[in-house]
């Protein structure tokens, strides 16, 4: 039997119990009844009409004025009923939107997927975890015909769906760069022009661009306002910040990007990251650079992917498993 068929009897029963001896039990029953009514989409005005019918049967001696007053109450509740139905339909729409965003997020993963290059001298690991569904962080590898590899890590400022769309543009611009302009400075200058012209004026991108040549073992890099990475010198066991000056992409179309070089020796490690790593917030404030270095040091002997995973786990723990910003960490370790 449907709730609608039995509701009048149920309600009358509750009412009768309460009128007779005002027990807690009756109040509890009415709360249950109310939840059930919502489940079966009973509107507020229907409830009042139900109440009126019940009370008329239970207490036929009630003054007419009281019953009449219920008519007014019913009219007044009409708008509430409408608002409630509107709320219900909005919830349906909201559920649909959430589904759409889930589809978009998984599409983003597919569209922006990048293959970690497999080259003999370099062990590469990467981890990227979005704080919300759609990530504003992005990394990309390109393997060149001459064996060199390009790596880029970017943070699209302005999160969510617009950022995700913007990322696809960046990816395709990078993929369609001519083979002869692999130099990180050139890459950034080209992308800067693309971003400056095409992107919403309130959206900006920070990007670190690097190029590793496996023949000379030189790593050259440029930065467009991106969080500096670290260079680990295996021989001395020291970490050096990969300082590079350069303006955010999309602010000034004439911006120039200087290039810097590092010779990568066996065992040296290059660490690139997004500001979700360095701006990680802990209980007592912010993550200090030394703390971060400490974690990296602790795992530096491991393989690149494992370092990335372990450092992420540590920082996730520090933040109580609540990422406030997208987190991306790329590790390049020279093996031979």
């Amino acid at each position: 039997m449907n709730f609608r068929d039995t509701m009048l009897d149920e309600y009358k029963e509750i009412l009768k119990t309460y009128i007779n001896d005002q027990t807690e039990q009756a109040l509890y029953m009415s709360q249950k009844f109310s939840r059930k009514s919502i489940e079966f989409k009973i509107s507020p005005e229907e409830m009042i009409s139900l109440h009126k019918t019940s009370i008329m049967e239970l207490e036929p001696e009630l003054p007419e004025s009281l019953l009449l007053s219920l008519d007014i109450l019913l009219e007044v509740m009409m708008s509430y009923g409408l608002a409630y139905r509107e709320h219900q339909s909005l919830r349906t729409i909201q559920r649909e939107l959430i589904n759409e965003i889930e589809v978009a997020a998984s599409m983003q993963q597919t569209l922006l997927g990048t293959q970690i290059p497999n080259i003999p001298s370099m062990d590469i690991g990467a981890i990227s975890v979005p704080a919300k569904q759609m990530s504003g962080d992005y990394y990309h590898f390109v393997s060149h015909e001459n064996g060199a590899i390009s790596v880029a890590i970017a943070d699209i400022i302005g999160k969510g769906i617009p950022a995700a769309l913007c990322m696809s543009m960046i990816k395709y611009s990078m993929d369609s760069m001519p083979e002869d302009s692999q130099a990180p400075g050139d890459v950034l200058e080209r992308l800067n022009r693309v971003v400056e012209q095409n992107v919403d004026p309130t959206m900006f991108i920070t990007m670190f661009s690097g190029l590793y040549n496996p023949e000379t073992h030189m790593f050259s890099y440029s930065s467009a306002g991106h969080e500096p990475g670290f260079f680990y010198h295996a021989e001395t066991g020291e970490f050096e910040e990969l300082q590079a000056k350069g303006l955010l992409l999309g602010v000034d179309k004439k911006a120039k990007y200087n290039e810097y070089d590092r010779k990568v020796e066996v065992g040296d490690v290059i660490l690139l990251m997004s500001d979700g790593v360095t701006e990680c917030r802990t209980e007592d404030g912010f993550l200090e650079v030394d703390t971060l270095i400490g974690y990296i040091e602790k795992y530096i002997h491991l393989g690149s992917q494992e370092i990335a995973n372990k450092v992420y786990k540590e920082l996730e723990y520090l933040q109580d498993f609540q990422l406030r910003d997208d987190f991306t960490l790329i590790i390049l370790k020279r093996t031979i």
Partner: protein, 109 residues
Amino acid sequence: MNITIDVQEQAQQTTINLAGEIDAYTAPKLRETAFPYTEKQGADIVIDLSGVTYMDSTGLGVFVGLFKSLNANNGTLKLTGLSDRLKRLFDITGLADIMNINSGSEGGV
């Protein structure tokens, strides 16, 4: 996670005092409040960040937007009272080179 925005309009200059956190949640409010002032011809805007305890890249995006809008309308933007952490953010992003920035501790660079 809150921000207070206090705008003081004088004849020649508009001063905006900010306090709290500027992140993805509060940035839209800041943008909406501050943006109209940048659209007046030749506006002179000073934003005091002494009370800002945290800012992420979304917040930074707002400042770039304000800066660009002011440039387009022959206005000027000055940021004051930046903590070391905020100063670092503007340094890394290269914005310190193109914007007029006074950090709090040094009282003027």
